[in-house]
């Protein structure tokens, strides 16, 4: 018995060391990039340091003078991500409620179809989508990046699973007896019920829209409309061949908002990943 405990203790030690290595691997790339963003090119070429340098101001000035407009990147990405998140949340809940609360012809078919759509990568329609948007005169517009968020199959699926655990028909029925219309029931009873699920899905849909690179790359070519991920291309051009500090600062600026979001909301994010996995 004692021996068993000793073995378990030794095993635990080794596991913690291994966890330590993985923790180091998760953090160190970001750390180096953040530190280098504050160091001068000479310092960076001399060796790695985990401490901040004193060149932040200089790196910042160089970065700004070379047309790396981080603020417009933040603004553009924020507009697209927040609007598409609102649309995704509202319409996915509406769709999920329609599929949960009512009896109608074709219900099973529609649900299976939405399930099936989760598995089709949206990228396969990229060429046709581009041609279609070009015909409509919607290139360099954010509309094709925002409106499609109304049809988000995986969010519908998650919200439906969530709704099934919290929805009680009696509550809706008693509201009906009181003369409430269907939209009123949805807005005043169902949406508040869904709040925790909406919070989880809201984070995921915001982050995935914020991180989207391919679709904006295809549809947008005016530089003042670039989203944050698109700005990353600029850091690889010859302009930064010697200005390492500025390049690292540019990368740092793109990851800091997400690091902050993660610091605040990681509990919900990890919870959402667990819930999504079991139900998927």
């Amino acid at each position: 018995m004692k021996n068993d405990k000793l073995i378990a203790k030794r095993q635990r030690m080794l596991i913690y060391i291994f966890f330590g290595i993985l923790t180091f691997l998760s953090i160190i790339p970001f750390w180096i990039v953040l530190a280098n963003g504050t160091r001068s090119s000479e310092q960076i070429q001399q060796g790695i340091s985990l401490f901040a340098g004193s060149n932040l101001k200089y790196n910042w000035d160089v970065l700004m003078n070379k047309g790396f407009d981080i603020f417009s990147g933040y603004t553009n990405s924020f507009i697209i991500a927040s609007l598409s998140t609102i649309l995704t949340l509202y319409f996915s809940s509406l769709t999920a409620y329609g599929l949960t609360a009512y009896k109608f012809k074709g219900k099973t078919f529609m649900f299976s179809m939405i399930m099936f759509l989760i598995l089709i990568p949206p990228q396969v329609s990229m060429v046709g989508f581009y041609q279609f948007m070009s015909k409509l005169g919607l290139l360099n517009s954010y509309i094709p990046l925002i409106l499609p968020a109304i049809a988000a199959p995986s969010t519908v699926f998650f919200m439906k699973q969530y709704l099934e655990t919290v929805y009680q028909k009696e509550i809706a029925d008693s509201a009906r007896m009181d003369g409430a219309g269907e939209f009123k029931i949805f807005h005043t009873i169902i949406l508040p019920l869904l709040k925790p699920g909406l919070a989880t899905m809201g984070i995921f849909s915001f982050v995935s829209s914020w991180n989207n690179f391919l679709m904006p790359l295809v549809l947008i070519n005016e530089q003042d409309k670039y989203t944050l991920p698109m700005l990353m291309q600029l850091l690889k051009t010859d302009t930064y061949r010697t200005e390492y500090g500025s390049m690292y600062l540019g990368i740092s600026l793109s990851i800091v908002p997400l690091l902050l979001i993660y610091l605040l909301l990681s509990r919900y994010i990890i919870g959402g990943v667990s819930a999504g996995g079991v139900k998927g």
């Binding site: 378990a8 095993q11 635990r12 596991i15 993985l22 923790t23 691997l25 998760s26 953090i27 790339p29 180096i32 280098n36 070429q45 060796g47 319409f91 769709t95 329609g98 609360a101 009512y102 009896k103 109608f104 529609m110 759509l117 598995l119 089709i120 990568p121 990228q123 396969v124 329609s125 990229m126 060429v127 046709g128 989508f129 041609q131 279609f132 409106l147 109304i150 009906r176 269907e182 914020w210 991180n211 690179f213 391919l214 990353m232 390049m247 990368i251 793109s254 990851i255 690091l259 993660y262 990681s266 509990r267 994010i269 990890i270 990943v273 667990s274 819930a275 996995g277 079991v278 998927g280």
Partner: protein, 313 residues
């Protein structure tokens, strides 16, 4: 009195049934936005892409004519396309096998009562962290960390005497492939661990207890209880990872743009470049997309089959 009540309740159910029939029609209104947007922004562009794959549309043309399956014949005799297809699968295999093995081990440790590890919440959070960061930024991070000759990793390896001279990782086929696979692995093992762990935790605890009372070892429990019951979720991880892996784009494009020697050119970078760079062969890009669609559907069908099996069990 009693009679009156029955009449009243009868009328009530009648009214209720009538209202039941009418309010159910709202389902169509509630589902309408989803399906309209889906038809307009998704189904139509997909069908249009399929149509374009049978045409000669290229350059800045707007007119096209049908050319039958010519594009597919060209595609499958195009060495770069075939290479992109193999690269995509090679890169996926190189990152998925170590990823699922590590995630299995981590999920097993996290859920093991005997080990009773502390701080699992913290470690889960840390392991998932790389997944949340923009892939485009991650590509740039690794591009700069592995840069030649004076990138941080080269300097570290020189300092510890592992290398005598700086190594240009992005000129080495194996080096670049390893870096791309490592990034994918590094970004996704945390997610896979959490999903597998959620699967393990959803297994009925009494099964484990019964096995423990029978004196089964950790390994035996894992092999005979955890693994079989985890099969559906493992398959789910496998298929979603494969479908995600088929679309790998941001990392190879921004890391080396497919170089060296097209070793990290993937299906999506191929399609993107065909459509939007050089001579803009929209028809070839569309044919490539159709191939991607077909491969994805085949894997989707596998999922449905596996879900059915799960129900039978």
């Amino acid at each position: 009195m009693l009679k009156e009540e029955t009449i009243l309740s009868k009328e009530k159910t009648k009214r209720k049934r009538k209202s039941l029939e009418s309010y159910n029609n709202y389902a169509y209104i509630f589902l309408l936005p989803f399906f309209l947007v889906f038809l307009f922004f998704n189904l139509y562009p997909t069908l249009y892409t399929i149509l374009l794959s049978f045409t000669d549309l290229g350059g800045w043309d707007t007119e096209f004519k049908l050319v039958g399956i010519q594009n597919f014949i060209n595609l499958f005799s195009n060495a770069l396309f075939l290479k992109s297809l193999t690269n995509t699968l090679v890169l996926w295999t190189m990152n998925f096998i170590p990823q699922i093995v590590l995630a299995m081990i981590l999920a097993f440790w996290f859920s093991n009562r005997r080990l009773n590890l502390k701080g699992t919440g913290f470690f889960k959070t840390i392991f998932y962290l790389p997944n949340i960061i923009t892939a485009a930024s991650v590509a740039l991070i690794f591009y700069s960390l592995f840069s030649y000759p004076a990138g941080p990793l080269n300097m570290l390896l020189l300092k510890f005497g592992v290398l005598d001279a700086p190594f240009d990782f992005f000129r080495s086929v194996m080096g670049t492939r390893l870096i791309v696979s490592f990034i994918q692995f590094w970004m996704w093992y945390g997610q896979t661990t959490i999903v597998l762990l959620a699967g393990i935790l959803s297994i009925d605890e009494s099964l484990f207890e019964a096995a423990r009372i029978d004196g089964a070892s950790d390994m035996a429990v894992f092999k005979n209880i955890t693994m079989p019951l985890l099969k559906p979720i493992t398959l789910y991880v496998l298929i979603t990872s494969l479908i995600g892996g088929l679309q790998i784009f941001d990392i190879p494009l921004l890391l080396t743009n497919g170089a060296p020697n097209n070793s990290v050119e993937t299906l999506m970078t191929f399609i993107y470049k065909q459509a939007f760079q050089g001579s803009r062969s929209l028809n070839i890009a569309s044919a490539g997309s159709v191939v991607l669609l077909v491969i994805s559907i085949v894997f989707s069908l596998c999922i449905f089959r596996s879900f059915k099996e799960k129900k039978v069990n």
